[in-house]
Symmetry: C2
Subunit: 168 residues, 2 copies
Amino acid sequence: MHSASNNTSQGSEAIEILAPLCSVFRRFLKDRNLRYTQERAEVLDAVMATEGLFEAEGLLLQLRERTNHNVSKATVYRTLRLLQEAGIITLTLIDPNQTHYQLVYGRTPADTMICMETGHHIDLRDTAIAQLRDRIAKEHGWSIKGHRFVIYGISPEAADNTRPKPSA
Amino acid sequence: MHSASNNTSQGSEAIEILAPLCSVFRRFLKDRNLRYTQERAEVLDAVMATEGLFEAEGLLLQLRERTNHNVSKATVYRTLRLLQEAGIITLTLIDPNQTHYQLVYGRTPADTMICMETGHHIDLRDTAIAQLRDRIAKEHGWSIKGHRFVIYGISPEAADNTRPKPSA
DNA sequence: GTGCGTGCAAAGACTTTGCACGTAC
DNA sequence: GTACGTGCAAAGTCTTTGCACGCAC
């Protein structure tokens, strides 16, 4: 299995963007006198392998597949909090029942459009969103820490499936 | 105490906008062969008295103040779900720990700017947000069901308080 | 009069925490 | 060698659900 190991390999092309992320986390930990442990590396590894949104539970399952060494649920939650504080992932809050996260590693966090039928979601990379945010915050004299923009809708595919088949 | 009763008074000026909401809910219930009970009326009443965002717990506390008759937590949650299905309130999801709601009664749901220091939030009523949403959805061929736009920042007041006092 | 609605308490889901042992520094 | 980190399981929150009685229709 091709695994984007973040702490050993240094020449892989696949991880060209991801590699610095490991350094970012290590520096963050060092600054706070925290340790870069096997478990934290594995969680970061699993996070880097995700696409778009993910949940703690999914990450835990992925960790069990990826590694022999089982990282505990508690450690996953604890590490997710650290990654959040390090600015590597953000909360996304699209579902009241469960916290969703996403990797942001220096990029602007993706805004999201979610299909209410299928749960399928696509990342939006529209600069107009941040511009709008900046304009509004400026008008009110606020300084910006972040934003979340989620569009709820029905994707074309779901609309096709949902539409009752014309009988005959 | 001045209470915007939704099921008895009909001439109050204060509830000119709110009154129809009761009808909306009653019709919704009738359409589904559900009953318009005292408890549901009281929950709607309390929801109408809220400003901006609210949580189930706060609503429950308010209900205990407003009425002698205690509405149970279970009924509050059940009614909030109905109100949501009726399109009277929406989920807001600004806090991973608790579900937040807001009254929308026919209006566009307010977007929100939240101060990360104080928790204070202000409602945004900027039409550019919906326009942006529409443009993006159209580009992707999606039909829109709703959206959420939240700006996280530091309000001017909080910035002032946070700033260390110039010694002397 | 019927069947939906309610209150209570217990269950359920997700997340956090206390404690003893392990390990990165 | 030390103090932070981990795993486990128990606790904690918010929310939902089962059941017997009550009330809107």
